[in-house]
Structure formats: C-alpha cells, structure tokens
Amino acid sequence: MMKLFKYDWKRDSNTIYSVLAVLVIAQLLFHWVGTARGWDPMIRLAVSLMMYVSAMVVMVITGSKGYIKNLKSYQRRLVPIHPIYHVLSSLLFSTLIMMAVFVIAAAHGLLLIPWSDLTAFLELGNLQLTAWDVIIAAASGIWGTFFVMLLIYFSMTVGAMVNIRGKAGVWVGIIVFIILSNIISSISETVFRQAGSATNFGIVQIESGPAAVPDTVTVSSLGTGLGGFLFELVAAVLLLWLMAWPIRKKLEI
C-alpha cells in the first residue's frame, strides 16, 4: 500500500505543494493587510474561511481524480496486489492532503489569531482547551475526513461500475453519495442520538455561557459519541469490503 501511496504522491505533489503554498501566502498577506488596515473582522474571518474551504475543495478533487485515474490505469490495475490496497492508498493520500489544510488552519489559529483583534471578536479569551480536547478534535477531524472520502470513493466506484467511460456513471455516483451519506447520518442521529456524525462534518462545538464561566468545547464522533463512531467504523469496513469486489470483478478497462 505504501508503494502505491508513494506513486500517488509523486503524481500530484506539484499540485498539492502549490495549493498549500498559495494558501499560506494568501492567508498571511490577507491577515497582515486586514489587520493593518482595520478591515471588518467578520469579513476577514469569512474570506479566510472561504480560502480554507477552497483549498479543501481542491484537495478533494485532486484526491478523487487520482482515485479514478488509478481505477482506469493499466499500470495500476496490472499490479498483482489485492484491489483493496488501491482504495486504501488513495484514502490515505486524500486524508493526508486534507489534514495538511487543517494543520495550516490550526497553525493560523494558534499563531496569528491570538495576537490579532479577532481574539476579542471571536470571544476566545474565555476558551479553555485541554490537551485531551485537542487530541479528540484532531482525531475526530482525521476520522471525519477519512470517512467522507471513503463515501466519495465508494460512490465513484459504483458510478464506474455503471460505465467507466460514459457520463451516466458520474450521476449515479452523485446520487449514491447523497443517499448513502443521508442514510448513515440518519442512523447515527436516530439510533445513537448523536447530532454530529462524521458525515455532518461536526467536529467541534463551542457553547458560550456567561462571561464568568469558561466556554465549553464538545467534540462529536469520538469521545462523547462512541456508539456513533463504532457504527461508522463498521460501516467503513463494510464499504471497503464492498468496493474491492467490483474493482476485481466488474470494472472494465
């Protein structure tokens, strides 16, 4: 799997590095100029978040395009390894490149925001995060990213089964993703009574109380939602097992 990952990385490393470099430069410039010129904090925050979202979208697209290229590539399909490793290496690649954006965002939050006027705007002065909170938030973010990409890849695999060269497969994949993510989210909320499953992208919730009381941070999926997490873990194993079969037995090339 790591050998496959090596070549996934080599193929797309230029794109990844350039996106991350542009993101860092843009965030730094925007932060300094915005702070110096006293731009509205709400607008600064919104634009900054939009830049992170845009970078994430690019990473999702890069990872997804890489996955479908692997499914269609003679060189990859001829390799004498179990098809599950093609899926796992693509998942690892996508998760890592998306986590890189999270890390930059976290660094931004830790290194720049405390020394800017955004601290007062976001009322972060009363926030008390423990090391465990940070670990849970990070683990939840990693798991959430992995699970969402797994859903996307599963949907793409189903779409590719329909017609690897045609357009119908794209629409089938989109429909499968919508249905599957809603089913998993509904089960998570109904059975496990957990509002934030990985598919809802809920990671951190901050509840503000009176000024004298520190804000509380709760994290979904892990920690407070063990049942939901275990359900998603079982769902992930099942989806991976289901994906291996069409790659091995059904996909044309």
Binding site: K10, R11, Y74, L78, K249
Partner: protein, 232 residues
C-alpha cells in the same frame, strides 16, 4: 492443463450487447511465440485483457492452472495497446515502479534494453514519440521474468525502423522458457518470428496451427492465408 501456459475454455465477453468473444477455446504451450492475428475489432485486445486478468469474462481462463485474475497477474507481463506508463513519469521512474511491484523485474536487463532502444533515463514519458513509447513499454514488459508475455499490437502505428527495432528486441530479450502472444494485424512484418498463429475472426477462433504446418499444408505464407481468411 498444467503443461499449458494459457488455457481458455468457452470464454465469452460482451460489451453492451455486442459479442467481443464468442465461446473461445484455445491453449498456448510453453516456449512458444504465438501470433494472435485478426482485423480491427476481431477481439484480440479483449482476449489479451482477459488473459492478463484485467476484465471480467464468462467461461474459464487459466494461466499456469491459476484462474486469470489476481492469482495469475504475477505470472503475466502484459503490454497493452494503450500507454502503460503515467505521463508525469520519467523513464527511470517507470522502471522503478516496475521494480517496486514485480519481484521478477530484472533491472539490469531493463538497463540493457534501454540502451538497445536508445532511451534515456531522464526522458519524460510525455515527450516520447509513439515509437519511443512503444520501445519503453516493451522494455518494461520484457524486463520481467514472466511465464507469459502478452504484447498487444507492439508495432502498430510506428515507423518501419522502430518496428524492426521492436521485433529485434523481442527476439533478443525474451525468455525462451516463457511464451509470448503477440497480437497484430501487420502480418507481413512479424510473420518471421512466430512459431504458431491463431486467427480470430468476429470473436471466434477460426484457425490455430504451427506456422510451418500451415505453410506446408496450404503452400502459402501466413500473410496470404490471413488475406484469404479475412477477405470481405
């Protein structure tokens, strides 16, 4: 059946209702160079992809007794009629990828073949001409010590000089304990290297025999027989 490298029994393949292969049964013995001959659309590439374990099929296809698929991929070196390498690679990266995934890949042999083919390590795959790309693909394929080599149209779409070079490379570098199946519709160029030929017409095997037998039986070259069998 275990004496045969490749054995197909009642193999069929449909693409959206169109029969690409229709109840194909054949066997390829050890140490043979077999020509898989047919016109465009006769099912040659489909047959090769099935033998390479790439696509689903009906019937039975085995390589050294193992079902064509995940179990047999390690025994088969397949050169498709489409690019095998990814366009972002350089030649040395394509070599490294083969080395990483195939324990039977002979890097020394690959080096010799690159020299024979006038290919440079640092050339980008995306800058190679069609002929040079075919040479690289052949290098990647024949540098493996596989039991079965499948070459799909190795000389299609390349100039006569490159064709001669590719055919010389096949004879120079192939392992005589293995078998090679070469699909082509350019019969005249390649007839000289075949031990056996197999004619595939509209997804069916219409003829399979040793080349010498065919020539003495029919008093014709393989090319003349090809024209006769596939005449419209």
């Amino acid at each position: 059946m275990k004496d045969q490298i490749l054995h197909l029994q009642g193999v069929s393949k449909n693409y959206a209702g169109k029969k690409a292969l229709d109840q194909v049964s054949l066997s390829i013995g050890k140490g043979k160079i077999v020509g898989l001959l047919g016109t465009n659309g006769s099912g040659k590439s489909t047959l090769m992809k099935i033998a390479a374990g790439l696509i689903p099929y009906e019937g039975s296809a085995t390589v050294l007794g193992k079902p064509a698929g995940l179990e047999s991929k390690a025994e088969v070196a397949f050169m498709p009629d489409r690019p095998l390498t990814e366009s972002w690679m350089r030649v040395y990266e394509a070599i490294r990828m083969q080395r990483d995934f195939y324990p039977d890949f002979d890097e020394n042999k690959a080096g010799q073949m690159l020299e024979f083919m006038n290919l440079r390590d640092r050339d980008r795959v995306s800058t190679l001409s069609k002929g040079m790309l075919e040479r690289l693909q052949l290098t990647l394929t024949l540098s493996r010590k596989a039991r079965l080599y499948l070459l799909d149209e190795p000389i299609g779409g390349v100039d006569p000089v490159a064709r001669a070079r590719i055919l010389d490379a096949i004879l120079e570098f192939y392992d005589e304990d293995s078998s090679i199946v070469i699909s082509t519709h350019l019969v005249r160029e390649i007839e000289r290297i075949f031990d056996e030929v197999l004619f595939l017409k509209q997804g069916k095997v219409v003829l399979q025999d040793e080349v010498e037998q065919l020539r003495s039986k029919h008093g014709k070259s393989v090319e003349d027989l090809f024209k006769e069998v596939f005449a419209e």
